[in-house]
Amino acid sequence: MSPSSSTPFSSVPSPLGYGHRHLLGIEGLTADEIGVLLDLSEGYVALSRSQSKKTALMRGLTVINLFFETSTRTRTSFELAGKRLGADVINMSVAWSAIKKGETLIDTAMTLNAMHPDVLVVRHPDSGAVKLLSEKVNCAVINAGDGSHEHPTQALLDALTIRRRRGSLAGLVVAICGDILHSRVARSNIHLLTALGAKVRAVAPPTLMPTEIESLGAEVFFDMRRALEGCDIVMMLRLQTERMHGSYVPSTREYFHFYGLDRDKLAAAKPDALIMHPGPMNRGVEIDSEVADDIDRSLIRAQVEMGVAVRMACLDILTRDLRRDNAQAGGG
């Protein structure tokens, strides 16, 4: 089962069309490379929906989920992805405190490296930490979210979700709304959506809008209704509780009034506009339950399903060379 073998990219060095050892971010990936990952994911959607759900592709390989920040959804999604590919999956949660600082990061990396994992899936509260760790280990590293920097598999699963519904991302108008300043999901999505030809609008109160976000290719809006005019996709972001009460926004009430997605604001978008959210949702803060649960408009549950498939594709593609080498060594 290799759906990507039908994707011809002669200009890319790897026969698979993905020329990187790790997946640290969307920035730097070409549209073709993103396409390879999405095509491969399609096959895994089919597999996950089938009776058996599993392959033995990664049998004998070890995946370690190394999470320096609590996460149920992403960790579970990666765990399931690894297991469906037949890999041995180990979860490690490391309490990250400012006091212990980086010795934990490098020490943990070195310790794990000595156990010869084949893939490390890493989440860390500091931007750039996953890249730093990737420089210290011999295996492939997948960034499962680093600080406010990137969350590449989330952007890939979002793209897959959109592509399956709309056929293509080119020309679509996508509004990303909420705490853009602190959001790795927003950054990865801006990189990915613009690379695939979509138009991105960033919507947030000025206190949650990073400076010069235009340089990443997004158009800035402070008025949500205007931002949603003519939109194909409305992508909501989670607002952390600690940022609600007077620090970045005055109150949840005021935030919801101006930036919460409800029927009224959604009416500005195209009639068939779709709604997305990376989860977990704060109902009544950034999104109204009525729209979140609208089965005709909301892609939120589809996103979760696509997450497993995309992560299977990422694990698959990053271990292809290794599996080929192992097969040759075993066979020769």
């Binding site: 920035e27 400012a98 600082k101 980086g102 010795e103 990061l105 490098i106 860390h124 500091d126 931007s127 750039g128 930490a129 890249k131 730093l132 680093d146 600080g147 406010s148 920097h149 990137e150 790795r184 950054r187 990073p210 400076t211 010069e212 976000i213 340089s215 990443l216």
Partner: protein
């Protein structure tokens, strides 16, 4: 080294390009050091030959300037000797052509009492390398609340007062420090950043947004400088803004100088050599405080060094071990080990035709010496025989692994530069000599 290092004897430095920014001297000639002092100098000195009993060193046309004064270094002693000591910093400074340096008080413990000042002085005497001056803290424990014994500290040798990498944030505390220090004619040196705006880790802008790092706006610096200038006006105090990094702050300082306020400032080479783009993908060696700024600010800093708005260029030497830097960018320690690269990085402004060699040397000699009121920074009869002999054109590439400093944290790895110290003389003693320099001159 032989007789040349004999502090009691007489040594003639022959065939040198004498450069003294204070007097404007730029001529080929000779200099005679007698003991720890300059006895004579000039184009015609020893034209008739060097008399018996004087050791002679042939400078072979190299530049000879007042010993460089580095007004802002962190020595890490006491408290963090694994990063640097007064001895290792002294060796690094000497190789960098630096004859005197002023140490920030942010050690463990903080230099906020007389014992701290005396400790630094004693350790420097023992190391017997470059001259070490020390700052006193403005506030006890650098906590920004109660002012230190500024008068007593000054009597025991503190040369200026600063809370190091911390801004004196409270306006009333700053007002009183500026006001009180007047009685002892002491300068208050500020780390000019509004702390509440400066809670980020790199310059605010497109690069920080891309990397997902919290930004520090350029306005954080201008706001603090502008407030301080108001307080200088109010108190008549003497004020120095350290490592200025933005065009906006420089504009404010320029205006204050024009109004006749007693205000000076310095910068460090990385603020005119590098910009936020050099952070690249989370290079923690390029993390400094204040952060590397936008290209327009970098350009403004270079221009202000050239036009004299910036009075001094200091290394801002901030040695850190690997463990402090091999961290996620946000929690990596800020700072660059700069003693061994101060001279060539500053000379880049001369090679770039931005300023004259004499003007560049002024920022490294009499500029900082005058701010700290040191008996240094001049080639004159009777002045201390603190000398830097250097080749202004020698091309080389910076290799931090070869630093004499205990710490190698420099973003200038493999960076091409021109200019290198050949010898450093302190009180008549040659404490550093490059290989191949200064064979005894042929007898005449």
């Amino acid at each position: 080294m032989g007789a040349a290092s004999n502090g009691n004897g007489r040594t003639a430095y022959l065939n040198a390009r004498l450069l003294d920014p204070a007097s404007g001297l730029d001529a080929t000639g000779a200099l005679l050091a007698e003991g720890a002092r300059i006895a004579d100098l000039g184009p015609r000195l020893f034209n008739g030959g060097v008399p018996e009993g004087i050791a002679a060193i042939d400078c072979a046309g190299a530049c000879l300037s007042p010993g460089l004064v580095d007004m802002r270094v962190q020595l890490r002693e006491p408290g963090e000797e694994h990063k640097e000591t007064i001895k290792t910093a002294g060796l690094a400074a000497a190789r960098g052509g630096i004859a005197a340096m002023a140490a920030l008080p942010n050690t463990e413990p903080v230099v906020d009492d007389v014992a701290g000042v005396e400790y630094i002085a004693r350790r420097a005497r023992e190391a017997k390398l470059v001259k070490v001056y020390t700052y006193g803290a403005v506030t006890r424990g650098m906590e920004g609340k109660e002012i230190t014994e500024i008068g007593l500290l000054a009597e025991f040798g503190a040369r200026a007062f600063t809370d190091g990498l911390k801004a004196v944030a409270d306006s009333q505390v700053m007002r009183r420090a500026l006001s009180y220090a007047r009685a002892h004619d002491q300068v208050i040196v500020q780390h000019p950043e509004d702390p509440s705006l400066a809670d980020g880790v790199m310059n605010e802008g497109g690069a920080a947004t891309r990397l997902g790092l919290a930004g520090i706006p350029a306005a954080a610096e201008a706001i603090m400088v502008e407030r301080d200038l108001r307080l200088v006006e109010l108190t008549g105090g003497r004020y120095h803004a350290a490592h200025v990094s933005t065009a906006a702050a420089l504009k404010a300082i320029h205006g204050a100088k024009a109004r006749g306020l007693r205000v000076t400032c310095d910068t460090a080479p990385h603020y005119f050599a590098l910009s936020e783009a050099d952070v690249g993908d989370y290079r923690s060696f390029a993390k400094v405080s204040p952060p590397l700024r936008a290209e327009a600010d970098r350009e403004a800093v270079a221009e202000a060094v050239a036009d004299g708005t910036i009075d001094a260029v200091a290394s801002d030497h901030s040695p850190h071990d690997q463990e402090s830097k091999r961290l996620p960018f946000a929690i990596a320690a800020p700072g660059i080990a700069g003693l061994e690269t101060l001279l060539p990085l500053t000379l880049a402004l001369v090679h770039g035709k931005r300023m004259s060699l004499l003007d560049a040397l002024a920022r490294l000699t009499r500029g900082p010496a005058d701010i700290l009121k040191l008996d240094a920074g001049r080639l004159a009869k009777g002045a201390p025989a603190d000398l830097t002999i250097f080749d202004p054109d020698l091309a080389w590439r910076i290799d931090p692994d070869k630093f004499l400093s205990k710490s190698k944290n420099s973003p200038f790895e493999d960076y091409p530069v021109r200019g290198q110290a050949l010898a450093t003389v302190v009180d008549g003693r040659m404490i550093y000599r490059a290989e191949g320099f200064g064979g005894a001159a042929g007898a005449k």
